[in-house]
């Protein structure tokens, strides 16, 4: 358990996710403290722009954009969407009113979590699992014994492998909810 994948990779992942929440709380506190709450409205635009910009990666991946290193596009996607998410979360604040924007925030949190799973966990977890299995076999364990010993780690990796099945549809749902939120604002705002 001490060297399990959950401890070595899941915990650092939680730290990254936690950092996003901490930044959000800090900026939210700062805006309230400086009486700049009205700025929060514009952070929604800025955050959305960053997230939309991060989708250049999707265009590159689907070859709609032909030039540029996909790896670099992926890095841009990761950082811009993470930063954009913070701005959107600050924009949302902790005001429990309309359900629609809150559903959008919930989807945003799920999308970021699944995205971070893909970025930080899956590759490393796979490598760790293979290394551990190799070490056990080299130490004389039979394949069945090795699999038994690595049961918990295998389950963790299997769950992680599902990150894309969550990431893409939920991103789509987030897009719909965000569009509806923007539409209601355009319809009713002063």
């Amino acid at each position: 358990m001490k060297n399990s994948i959950a401890v070595r990779q899941v915990l650092p992942f939680i730290q990254w996710y936690g950092l996003m929440i901490l930044f959000t709380l800090f900026f939210d506190f700062l805006l309230h403290r400086l009486q700049w709450v009205a700025v929060g409205r514009y952070l929604g635009y800025a955050g959305t722009a960053l997230v939309l910009l991060s989708f250049l990666y999707s265009l590159r991946k689907r070859k709609i954009i032909a030039s540029g290193s996909p790896k670099q596009y992926l890095a841009v996607h990761e950082y811009l969407s993470w930063a954009g998410s913070i701005l959107i979360l600050v924009h949302a604040g902790i005001h429990f009113n309309a359900i629609l924007p809150w559903l959008a925030v919930l989807m945003l949190l799920i999308v970021v979590a699944s995205g971070l799973t893909g970025k930080y966990l899956l590759k490393k977890a796979n490598e760790t699992l293979k290394e551990k299995k190799k070490a056990l076999l080299a130490a004389g364990s039979s394949p069945e014994e090795a699999e038994k010993k690595l049961f918990f780690d295998s389950v963790t990796v299997d769950i992680m492998k599902k990150w894309r099945t969550v990431h893409l549809p939920i991103t789509f749902l987030l897009g719909i909810l965000s569009l509806l939120h923007i539409l209601t604002i355009l319809m009713f705002a002063k």
Binding site: N97, L100, L103, T165, L173, I176, L180, K190
Partner: protein, 285 residues
């Protein structure tokens, strides 16, 4: 399969928007007076057109706004307001308390006659200080920040209250200040409360190594007593013996004779000269 998921979610969201439109998009409860129109957004909103004044004016006549309120004089200024939309000051969806909907209010929309008559809207504070003031509010307050944007001048209040500092100021809770009653002016001025004009040199000059924190000499926040032994580590018996040679038998109050770091600066001409002579002799030796 993935496409089915997406289609399902899309249908679910659209169904929610149609089935629960207010819960899904209502950003907060309407004020008490607007409760009856809480299910008809178009009463105030024009779709894609904001909140036009005509929607508000359909119910609220400027000349009548506030006539039925407890303080009609406070609100009956709307008729004189021109060039501003209702939403310059008012908003809603901030909860049932109507006061929450005027957070956008800014005094700049008011005419100068209203602006210069604060008490037409604001009730003057009923404390001793404000009761005896005749000066206009603007001498101390401004419309940006009522409490902190002050330029208060003590000369505006009557002498009787000006000398009663404790009627407005809470006395400090340390031992020293607790022992003093109604004599604040001895150390403080109305120009600046901190630092006070208290002259420590009258008791002991804080020169050379004596410019230290109060607690070094006045331990436990008791400013009425002091000790020199916090730094001067000589034993009391040795000092007593030394002072006895000079005919001094009570050495509990060092500062009653020693007024500064200068060991020859002894209180009283006779003592001073005697010490100085002694000092010179020592130097000669």
């Amino acid at each position: 399969m993935k496409k089915l998921y997406i289609l399902g979610m899309l249908i679910a969201v659209i169904w929610l928007m149609i089935r629960f439109p207010y819960a899904m998009s209502n950003p907060g409860k309407l004020s008490e007076g607007h409760t009856r129109i809480s299910q008809t957004c178009e009463s105030c909103h024009q779709y894609f057109g904001g909140i036009p004044d005509r929607k508000c004016l359909a119910c609220h006549k400027p000349a009548e706004i506030g006539k039925d309120s407890a303080n009609p004089e406070k609100i009956l200024f709307h008729e004189g307001l021109t060039g501003y939309s209702c939403i310059s000051c008012h908003t809603d969806h901030k909860g049932t308390n109507p006061a929450m909907g005027t957070s956008h209010f800014n005094h700049f929309v008011l005419t100068s006659s209203i602006l210069n008559n604060c008490s037409s809207c604001h009730r003057p504070p009923a404390d001793t200080l404000h009761n005896q003031l005749t000066a206009t509010c603007g001498n101390c307050h401004n419309t940006n920040n009522w409490k902190n944007g002050t330029s208060f001048d003590h000369n505006m209040i009557g002498t009787a209250i000006r000398n009663e500092c404790q009627s407005c100021h809470k006395p400090p809770v340390d031992n020293y200040h607790q022992s003093i009653t109604n004599n604040c002016q001895k150390c403080h001025t109305t120009g600046k409360w901190i630092p006070s004009s208290f002259e420590h040199s009258a008791y002991f000059r804080l020169d050379k190594d004596h410019n230290v924190s109060c607690n070094t000499c006045h331990t436990n926040n008791v400013l009425t007593t002091y000790t020199c032994y916090g730094c001067h580590e000589h034993t009391e018996s040795r000092m007593l013996e030394k002072h006895n040679e000079e005919g001094i038998y009570n050495i509990t109050k060092c500062a009653s004779c020693h007024k500064s770091a200068d060991e020859h600066d002894i209180k009283g001409r006779e003592n001073n000269e005697r010490k100085k002579d002694k000092g010179e002799k020592r130097e000669d030796d």
